[in-house]
């Protein structure tokens, strides 16, 4: 992410020279060691386990997965729910980021904080808060029922609606921030020029601003979608078993069934499909722009 760009803002030009990078490269060493030891190695071990547990398993764990009605359905659920959450985040996040872009910087700062404040509390706490709000005896239903507007509780939880509400709220910052980062870099002179040349504000937005903001859309969409694929607790708490996502099944295999061969195979399948999604996306957008948007015009 943009982290490495920040401290160098004042000395940006020197930072870019090859000499400096070489001299400071050793700073990345602990990170690389950490990644290899605690991320890459376990990943490889996991992949190995998926074909060696039970001994001589070969691809049998993968076969078990794909002939299981529930496993395949839950894999489908996972991508379906991730896709809806992403769309919802985009629909809410784009106008929001645009608003941040057009208002005065101080207001934009406040809007940014509004997106981020929920972010500073634990995901579990927020999910339980949603539960308290949405359930049959929750805030919304008990208010509406005490006012006599409804006689039966509305089905707000333990369905797709509850899951999407919870997930979208949690994922929204990952959409808004890349969008805002890209929008900030769009030179206001372009839209100004379009207006001078006779374009209506709507047309100027559609023909000039929107296309320029598309890298942000791609970045946010990809980020949110990939993160959503791994969701586990939120769908369990706010959804019904019909909204079960694959991470939950992986956890069941590991913790409850002790079938680590199948569990790791499921994890590898999720990982491969995530890479496939990224590969498909990379044909539409440069992944470097998504995950390494360092060069913002500060």
């Amino acid at each position: 992410m943009a982290v490495q760009g920040r401290p160098a803002a004042r000395t940006g030009r020197r930072w870019r020279s090859g000499l400096r990078i070489n001299r400071w490269a050793w700073l990345a060493f602990p990170t690389i060691v950490l990644l290899v030891v605690f991320f890459l190695a376990p990943l490889v071990l996991m992949a190995i386990r998926s074909v060696t547990d039970p001994p001589n398993a070969g691809l049998s764990n993968y076969q078990t997965f794909f002939v299981s009605e529930a496993d395949v359905r839950v894999l489908g659920n996972t991508f379906y729910i991730a896709a809806i959450s992403t769309v919802v985040c985009l629909v809410i996040g784009y106008p929001y980021a645009y608003l941040m872009h057009v208002v005065r910087p101080r207001i934009a700062g406040l809007l940014l904080i509004a997106v981020l404040v929920p972010f500073w509390s634990s995901l579990l706490v927020r999910t339980f808060a949603w539960e308290v709000i949405l359930r049959d005896t929750g805030v919304i239903n008990s208010l509406l029922m005490s006012w006599g507007i409804i006689s039966q509780p509305l089905a707000l939880i333990r369905n797709t609606l509850g899951v999407i509400l919870g997930m979208s709220q949690i994922l929204l910052p990952f959409m808004v921030l890349p969008l805002y980062a890209v929008m900030r870099r769009i030179d206001p002179d372009y839209t100004q020029a379009a207006a001078n040349l006779g374009a209506s504000p709507a047309k100027a937005f559609r023909r000039v601003f929107l296309p320029l903001s598309l890298p942000g859309v791609a970045a946010g969409t990809l980020l949110v979608f990939v993160l959503a694929l791994g969701f586990y607790i939120t769908p369990t708490i706010l959804g019904s078993p019909r909204e079960t996502m694959i991470s939950r099944f992986i956890a069941d295999q590991i913790q409850q069934r002790l079938d680590w061969g199948l569990g790791t195979a499921m994890a590898v399948i999720l990982m491969i499909l995530t890479f496939v999604a990224l590969a498909l996306a990379s044909r539409a957008v440069r992944l470097r722009d998504v995950f390494g948007s360092a060069e913002d015009g500060a």
Binding site: R73, I233, P241
Partner: protein
């Protein structure tokens, strides 16, 4: 960019990173209920030490040993601590460290990696039979009084430490003055409208209670007729609210989110007596089951672990935790405190009581679980 907005932006980036890490994992562990007023003195262990120096009264334990005891935390583990660990420490000088996250997977992981740090583990009835022999030590029955344990509640690798019931709990304020008589009423949405709490686990009783509701006798549940159970479950599927653990079941019935629930009797008792909710238990057709003590294979404290297990399952010690939580003894000769007796599952056994067939459930775990998952995600 202005300096202050620069600050905000870097904060953003940092919190994104932090958030990304926190959004993935963790198990939902809702807080456990706080224990109510409790008797302060653990009574059961104070048997006279002058009796024959056997494992029940004067265990030949090595003072200064530290045993690690793993159980399920909350009020449950607190009761075990007050009933067993503290008195045993006082008696023998053995110290305990505790883990509150007992899990079959952790035992497997510890044994596989050769880093066994748990000495005595409290596990559910779905663990500890011969199929887990690769990760467990056989128990030492020269110390453990096997013949005093309730029949069916002791095996080569495990001995039950507490009994409990999987029961029908209901809200007395939402059943129109009627009492649900058994699982058939649990499935009767006309007579008893409202949602139903259910343990989200294929071997936690869901199929058994559906079959009993459909008229299968408690003694004839096995082998499970799962298609029949599923057909019955479909009639209330939209009203089911699944809970992942005991605390959640207590909260669901306490808030009135469900009007009835399959529950562990201790949790129903807590909803009524600790949370003061209008909750009652129907003991008919309860499934009587147990938690078990096991010893992970390769623990360096094997001998001391065996002595403690033998001591905790002795007649005079086994009922001690039931003073604090209504989970009953497994030793036939154990006498719980009189005022606690009515709340114990073992005291409410009758002709309608069912029992899990643990061997069947463990041997067929994969098939049962696959059918359960296929049904519930549909």
């Amino acid at each position: 960019m202005k300096p202050w907005s620069r600050t905000i932006f870097s904060t953003v980036v940092v919190s994104l990173l932090v958030g990304a890490c926190s959004s993935g994992g963790g198990t939902p562990v809702p807080g456990t209920a706080s224990p109510a007023t409790q008797p302060s003195v653990p009574a059961a262990s104070q048997a006279p030490a002058s009796a024959a120096a056997d494992v029940c009264t004067a265990p030949n334990a090595k003072s200064g040993t530290t045993l690690t005891f793993a159980s399920y935390g909350g009020v449950y583990q607190k009761a075990q601590r007050q009933g067993w660990l503290d008195p045993y420490s006082k008696l023998t000088g053995v110290k305990f460290t505790e883990s509150e996250d007992s899990a079959n997977a952790t035992i497997k992981a510890q044994v596989e990696s050769g880093q066994v740090t748990w000495d005595v583990v409290d596990v559910g009835n779905d663990f500890g039979l011969d199929s887990n022999s690769n990760v467990l030590e056989p128990l030492d029955f020269s110390l453990i009084h096997k013949d005093e344990i309730l029949p069916g509640f002791v095996g080569t690798y495990r001995v039950a430490d507490i009994t409990y019931g999987v029961v029908l709990a209901y809200r007395t304020d939402k059943t129109n003055g009627q009492t649900p008589q058994g699982w058939a009423d649990f499935f009767d949405l006309t007579k008893f409208p409202g949602k139903r709490g259910m343990y989200d686990y294929s071997a936690g009783g869901i199929f058994e209670i559906a079959l009993m509701a459909d008229g299968v006798a408690p003694k004839s549940l096995y082998p499970l007729d799962i298609p029949r159970a599923i057909k019955k479950l479909d009639t209330i599927k939209d009203k089911l609210v699944f809970w992942p653990g005991g605390a959640k079941s207590q909260e669901l019935i306490g808030s009135g989110e469900v009007t009835m629930s399959l529950m562990w009797n201790g949790r129903a008792w807590s909803a009524k007596n600790l949370d003061n909710k209008p909750v009652a238990i129907q003991w008919n057709q309860q499934i009587l089951t147990a938690d078990y003590l096991v010893v992970p294979k390769g623990t360096p404290n094997k001998d001391e672990a065996m002595k403690f297990i033998a001591w905790a399952t002795c007649a005079q010690n086994n009922a001690a935790p039931s003073q604090f939580i209504p989970y009953g003894p497994t030793n036939k000769n154990s006498k719980p405190q009189a005022d606690k007796v009515p709340d114990l599952a073992v005291s409410n056994v009758n002709d309608t009581t069912a029992y899990f067939d643990d061997k069947y459930l463990i041997d067929n775990a994969k098939s049962i679980d696959d059918q359960y998952n296929a049904w519930k995600t549909k």
